[in-house]
């Protein structure tokens, strides 16, 4: 047997380089981008629509990119709300990556927006390993996923600085104490901010925007 040392490169560094390219493009156009991650059905689209509504009310121009394995349902929702939007269908991939987002940005009317929400594929785990070049990450979980979400995915939450705990209106019905999720989150991320939201009624949306620095 023979050992050969080879350092031909970190494959995730390539992802990071592509992400940096996106970041520079967005910064150059004065667009602030937010990568919205979370499981299928956690309420990402509904929360984005609510945040967009509030931001538009303050004169902020908002756009959205819908990332899905297939289908254009989310993009239609964004369009129906009057947001400049496009979609990325990943085919079989369980996450967006900087390369795909880069192509989507090429055709996006960036001059028409100040804030761009990039809704990742519905999947709590995989998107976390792929930086897109956004200014911020937001993870959306819902109380219907259980009060043990942080314990089950600690590394995901230890690296995410803003978390929306959505569908709090259903907490009692599903027997989940949202504070338990908040406590777990504080343990793994003492610097992060967890906000209780109900996208349907709009509860907590203003606080979420302030956690994101708006």
């Amino acid at each position: 047997m023979h050992e050969i040392r080879t350092g031909f490169g970190d494959i995730l560094r390539r992802q990071l380089e592509l992400a940096e390219r996106n970041y520079e493009l967005l910064a150059d156009r004065g667009v602030r981008a937010i990568n919205v991650m979370g499981a299928i059905g956690s309420g990402k689209t509904a929360l984005i629509l609510r945040m967009a509504q509030r931001l538009q009310g303050k004169g902020v121009r908002v756009g959205a990119i819908a990332g899905d394995v297939a289908g254009d349902d989310d993009m239609r929702r964004f369009q129906a709300a009057g947001l400049p939007s496009t979609m990325i269908n990943t085919g079989d991939d369980c996450h967006l990556d900087a390369h795909r987002v880069g192509h989507a940005l090429e055709d996006f009317p960036l001059s028409a927006v100040d804030v761009l929400f990039i809704e990742n594929v519905g999947n709590l785990v995989c998107p976390a390993d792929f930086p897109l070049g956004t200014d911020q990450d937001l993870v959306v979980i819902s109380v219907t996923e259980g009060d043990d979400m942080v314990r089950k995915h600690p590394k995901m939450f230890s690296q995410t600085d803003v978390v929306a705990i959505n569908k709090v209106d259903l907490a009692e019905i599903v027997g989940v104490d949202p504070q338990k999720i908040v406590e777990d989150y504080r343990k793994v991320n003492p610097h992060g901010r967890a906000v209780l939201t109900d996208a349907k009624s709009g509860r907590g949306v203003e606080e979420l925007l302030s956690a994101l620095g708006f």
């Binding site: 023979h2 050969i4 040392r5 970190d10 991939d93 995901m156």
Partner: protein
């Protein structure tokens, strides 16, 4: 299941590297460093490698994965080194916390998010001269 797309990137990268820098003999092990912060199943990555490498010169090679611990730097106090870990009963995993172990400020990550091929183990063929390296 992003292990498949990452295994695919590793494989493509290595095949490209080998076409420019060929090695004599059969590659039996591919040594990989995996940052501790990645949310990646080693088992799934090895299985993806096994399946994706079939039909390529790397068929039958095995991924040898070394976990790379998190290294952080604190902008507030200048600390640079290991992260603090949270160990909770029932979590079955020590969780690296991105706070400064000295002053508690938020830290930046220096290491722990990488995935890289760092070496190869090659089985010598009788009578062939191995490259030094």
């Amino acid at each position: 299941m992003h292990e498949y797309s990452l295994a695919h990137s590793l494989l493509e990268g290595l095949l490209e590297h080998l076409s420019a820098h060929p090695v004599e003999g059969r590659i039996v092990k591919v040594h990989v460093r995996q940052g501790e912060l990645l949310i990646l199943s080693e088992e799934a990555l090895r299985e993806a490698w096994r399946i994706l490498s079939e039909g390529t010169p790397l068929a039958g090679s095995e991924l040898a994965i070394e976990k790379v611990p998190v290294v952080v730097r604190c902008r507030a106090c200048g600390y640079e080194g290991d992260a603090r870990y949270l160990v909770e009963e029932g979590w079955h995993q020590a969780i690296p916390i991105l706070s400064c172990p000295d002053c508690g400020a938020q830290v930046e990550i220096l290491e722990g998010r990488d995935l890289a091929i760092v070496g190869l183990t090659v089985e010598e063929r009788p009578g062939t001269q191995l490259p030094s390296g």
